[in-house]
């Protein structure tokens, strides 16, 4: 049986052209990249978590669904300030329930976005962002800049679907109609495949962007800019000429910009640069988002409560302050007392001080495969794979909502989706709170 037009639940490209064939030998996923393919194989993998687990006497033991849900609800209902962390490979519908749960408990709700392009979102809050949906660059762009991003390894189909290779309306010869610049301290695979590689020193994005803006405003940058960034002024001018001279330019910013020293100020300067370039030609900027629905959390949290990530509900209304109400900071400062982690491996992906605090507080996690986070959890609820086993919505890297449909059903009799799991958990928590009050 062949299924078409499926959406890949892995990276921010949210490719919607996957074809899946279920054969006697296994699953064949056409059009998917290496990462996507691996995820489609997960459907039948041996390490899939197939039943709830509860930690007893230091060991993770299989348990019944009701028992596991009860234990999870006990943890949440008895906590004073829980952290609810929602990963970005699950649906907006699940995120909405997670946000409701956090609001109900007066806890904090955060998502991968914080440690991913959170600083980029903060840059938007400082400067705004001039962007476009991906089809604009596909059809129009004759200049593509990968800034601190390495799509050939992190988003393998970005170049072929959206930015470099596709034959668009005004870019009929695909790659031949475009110039590609990569800005990266590392000579990455993407840099090797670009027309120009600006190899700046690490942690100097802010200075390079500022210098470009000063040049754009007709001023020579402070002479130290060359030494600091490792990029000659002449090379900056060359790059700027390319940018001003193109018909339609696009910057795809990666974590190299958002995560390095300077953080949201880097993003902010990049947004300013693009805004000012629009006085010369058409220029837009977008983020290369790491997960299929990392943009979704920003969207859902913003429209439901007004802020894109790191929402604190302790006062009954939403509050936002990265550094204060964000997961890494709360864990580092030991300022939460329980955690619900949905489809995210925090123990692997957070710094050591945060990961070890997760080992000290009660933790519930929902996941599809064993990982360091499931090892440290008190309750593990099996995850359902979005876009394969249930339907829902992702927001793609350019904030275009993509509705996905499954080609098979949840393998569990007790839950149809992560949304469903969270709803059941919410009901149980509500029951305990109402009985207690």
């Amino acid at each position: 049986m062949m299924f078409r037009n499926l959406v890949c639940p892995v990276c921010g490209a949210s490719c919607d052209d996957i074809q899946v064939e279920m054969t006697a030998e296994g699953i064949v996923a056409k059009n998917a990249c290496k990462m996507g393919n691996a995820k489609f194989q997960e459907l039948a993998s041996p390490h899939r978590i197939r039943q709830p687990l509860i930690c007893q006497g230091g060991e993770m033991l299989p348990s019944g669904w009701e028992e596991a849900l009860d234990r999870a609800a006990d943890i949440l209902a008895s906590s004073s300030r829980p952290l609810i962390f929602i990963g970005s490979e699950t649906s907006c519908e699940a995120m909405e329930v997670g946000l409701h749960l956090g609001e109900y408990l007066g806890g904090v709700v955060d998502s991968n976005s914080t440690v991913c392009h959170g600083p980029t979102a903060m840059g938007i809050q400082e400067a705004g962002r001039v962007g476009a949906t991906a089809g604009q660059s596909k059809n129009r762009a004759d200049l593509t800049v990968y800034w601190g991003s390495n799509p050939l390894e992190s988003m393998p189909r970005h170049m072929s679907r959206y930015a470099v290779y596709p034959r668009g309306y005004w870019t009929r010869r695909g790659r031949f109609d475009r110039t590609v610049i990569t800005v990266d301290p590392r000579r990455s695979l993407t840099a090797e495949n670009s027309d120009l590689h600006i190899q700046l020193n690490p942690n100097t994005d802010f200075e390079l962007l500022s210098a470009l803006l000063a040049l754009l405003h007709g001023q020579q940058p402070h002479p130290s800019a060359e030494e600091v960034t490792g990029v000659a002024i002449r090379q900056m001018e060359e790059m700027l000429e390319l940018m001003k001279g193109c018909n339609y330019g696009v910057i795809y910013a990666g974590l190299g910009m958002a995560s390095s020293y300077g953080k949201h100020r880097n993003a902010e300067m990049a947004f300013h640069l693009v805004q000012e370039l629009n006085n010369h030609t058409k220029f837009v900027i977008g983020a290369l988002r790491g997960h299929c629905n990392v943009a979704g959390f920003n969207q859902v949290a913003s429209y439901l409560y007004g802020y894109p990530f790191g929402l604190d509900f302790s006062r009954g209304y939403p509050r936002y302050n990265p550094g204060e109400f964000t997961a890494v900071d709360l864990l580092r400062e030991r300022d939460v007392d329980a955690a619900l982690v949905v489809c995210a491996d925090l123990v692997s992906h957070f710094p050591a001080d945060c990961a070890s605090y997760l080992g000290e507080i009660p933790m519930i996690c929902i996941d599809i495969a064993s990982c360091p986070t499931t090892m440290l959890s008190d309750v593990v609820l099996p995850g359902v794979i979005d876009a394969m086993e249930c339907d829902g919505t992702f927001y793609r890297l350019d904030d275009v909502p993509i509705y996905f449909q499954p080609f098979t059903a949840s393998p569990f009799p007790f839950t149809a989706s992560n949304q469903h799991t969270l709803q059941q958990l919410m009901e149980r928590v509500r029951g305990r709170k109402e009985a207690g009050s």
Binding site: I124, Q125, G131, Y305, P318, D399
Partner: protein
């Protein structure tokens, strides 16, 4: 089976010609009925509205409340949210935001103010799923959205070929596919140029590549609209918006649809009204204030409303909403990307923009209308001038183009200015003197009455967008949406304008579908809102050929054809309106 009786209220129901008569209203199972049986009366909830003003529930026909650009505004403005919050209650969610509130807060704020029906003014097709998600999450309100089509590649291509039938077929398919309510045309032909950082500046300037002019787009979309017989006319956001001297292009744009016959063929049961509740217009001009700028630059800027007012007074095919400026913080957001870029150049504020492939675009920028600013003051005057000097209230609708001119929670203040010369004079004395010097507002003595307010905020928005078959009045069969204000018409003195403004801001109660949902601003119930959208049908042969064109050009999208539509599951309480049912599909015109 529930019944509600609103007793002894002073009713203002313009579509039924009722101007302040003391009348009882009966609602049965959510709909207005002429009477109740004895048994029903005994089981009915009774609200005593003696010495109170009773109107149909408020209808907002143009507001930016759901979708990608609204959310871009929310995301980029934490400073707008920090100090304006709403804490959760046992039945409501928490929220935040002043000019761009989060959806829960938005729904509660509208309901608390007596509004029950709100239409989102701009839905990009590719991002329609987003708009529907947000409308779906908005509590209480019945909603719908207008689809942006003035720079759509398929529309421009067909219109360049002069093919109205195929345009209509495309629009019909798009409206069904994306569950849209009406057609919005924003800066026709200009937004496509913005794809290259350019604009068009006159009605007869063809745009790059598609070689089509704003005039051709406006005329073509209006013709297709009437050919399909949509409940609402073309909703137009004119070219050169926000530019000094643009009143002239606005007048010329309005002339384009003169002579077209309005034709609404919605297959719906019509609630009873004394007046004809079908729309009369062929163009509905959005936020006229922003389209009526005079002068030639910001230095000699003045109101250009006179030219627009004169034209609307002389024409029968136009309705406008005003886009009032009540002063204070705002967030400018529009599908007109280049207009927002111009504001960025002026203000240097933070600026967001999103161009949507093959379809449209949008821009967002924070803005403050200050009483000390001469330009803001003139804009304040213009918004009121337009409504007060267009003689026939049935040609006007009151909005703030939320959140462009100001926030919807300022509606009570805008109504107060319309009703009270003293309130206007008071504000004019506080703001820059250009307000009266460079507009005609200071010469206007007209004070609108409650009947006229009911036209501008209920009856006419409903009629203009064709939702008056159930909204905007209280004839038998209409939705049981009612606002009861603590205003006694017999003692109302518009000179006491502060009392008036606060009475309008916090109605005695808001009733939706026959149930009290808010009292004096406090939300008492949170029913799920309806989603209105049109399902127009066109000639099946045309549609088939159109679809083959569409599939051929779909390769320029980055979303597959199969994943383009808005699925049914995004609509929790759908209220589709069939237009030209399939069996009665249009005969070819030529």
């Amino acid at each position: 089976m529930s019944s509600l009786i609103i007793k002894n209220g002073c009713l203002f129901d313009p579509l039924n010609g009722i101007d302040g008569e003391v009348k009882d209203i009966f609602i049965r199972d959510g709909r207005v009925v002429t009477d109740l049986s004895g048994t029903q009366r005994r089981g009915a909830q009774v609200i005593d509205a003696a010495k109170k003003t009773v109107m149909p529930g408020g209808v907002d026909s143009h507001s930016h409340v759901a979708g990608a650009k609204v959310n871009a505004g929310r995301l980029m403005r934490p400073e707008d949210h920090i100090r304006t919050v709403r804490a959760r209650t046992a039945i409501t969610h928490g929220g935040s935001g002043y000019t761009i509130p989060s959806v829960y807060k938005q729904g509660y704020d509208y309901a608390g103010m007596g509004y029950t029906t709100v239409f989102e003014a701009a839905m990009p097709p590719l991002e329609a799923r987003h708009t529907h998600e947000e409308m779906g999450a908005t509590p209480v309100l019945d909603m719908g959205a207008y689809m942006v089509l003035g720079n759509n590649w398929f529309v421009m291509r067909y219109l360049k070929d002069g093919d109205i039938d195929r345009t209509a077929a495309y629009i019909a398919w798009m409206m069904r596919t994306h569950k849209a309510y009406g057609i919005k045309c924003v800066n026709p032909a200009g937004v496509e140029n913005w794809g290259w950082a350019k604009n068009v500046n006159s009605l007869d300037e063809p745009n790059i590549h598609f070689d089509i002019t704003p005039r051709e787009v406006i005329r073509g979309l209006a013709e297709a609209n009437e050919l399909l017989g949509l409940p609402m006319s073309l909703h137009l956001h004119t070219n050169n918006l926000g530019h000094p001297g643009n009143w002239e292009i606005t007048r010329e744009s309005l002339k384009i649809t003169a002579g077209l016959a309005p034709s609404s063929r919605a297959q719906v049961p019509w609630a009873e009204t004394r007046l004809d509740s079908r729309r009369q217009q062929t163009v509905y001009l959005a936020h006229a204030q922003f389209c009526s700028f005079g002068g030639t630059s910001w230095r000699d800027f003045q109101s250009g409303a006179q030219g627009v007012i004169d034209y609307v007074n002389s024409a029968e095919h136009v309705v406008i909403d005003n886009g009032a400026v009540p002063f204070g913080p705002a967030t400018a957001m529009t599908g007109d990307g280049p207009a927002i870029h111009d504001l960025y150049m002026l203000s240097g504020q933070k600026w967001s923009n999103t161009d949507v492939e093959l379809e449209c675009g949008s821009g967002v920028i924070p803005f403050v209308y200050a009483k000390s600013s001469p330009i803001s003051s003139i804009q304040w005057a213009m918004g009121l001038e337009l409504l007060l000097r267009i003689k026939d209230p049935w040609k006007t609708i009151m909005t703030t183009d939320h959140p462009n001119g100001g926030v919807f929670t300022e509606y009570p203040q805008v109504m107060t200015w319309l009703m009270s010369r003293k309130a206007r004079d008071q504000t004019a004395s506080e703001c820059h003197k250009w307000a009266y010097d460079r507009s005609s507002l200071g010469e206007v003595d007209r004070e609108m009455d409650l009947f006229e307010m009911a036209v501008l905020t209920r009856a006419n928005p409903a009629r203009t967008i064709g939702i008056s078959f159930r909204k905007g009045h209280l004839g038998a069969g209409a939705d049981g949406d009612v606002t009861i204000y603590d205003i006694d018409p017999s003692t109302l003195d518009p000179a006491h304008h502060q009392n008036l403004a606060s009475a309008l801001a916090r109605p005695y109660c808001t009733i939706k579908d026959g149930a009290v949902i808010a009292r004096r601003g406090e939300v008492l119930a949170v029913p799920e809102g309806r989603r209105f959208y049109c399902q127009p049908f066109s000639d099946q042969e045309e549609e088939k050929e159109m679809l083959s064109d569409l599939k051929e050009w779909f390769k320029y999208y980055t979303v597959g054809f199969a994943n383009y539509p808005v699925p049914d599951k995004y609509l929790k309480r759908p209220a589709p309106i069939a237009v030209n049912r399939p069996l009665e599909a249009l005969a070819r015109r030529r």
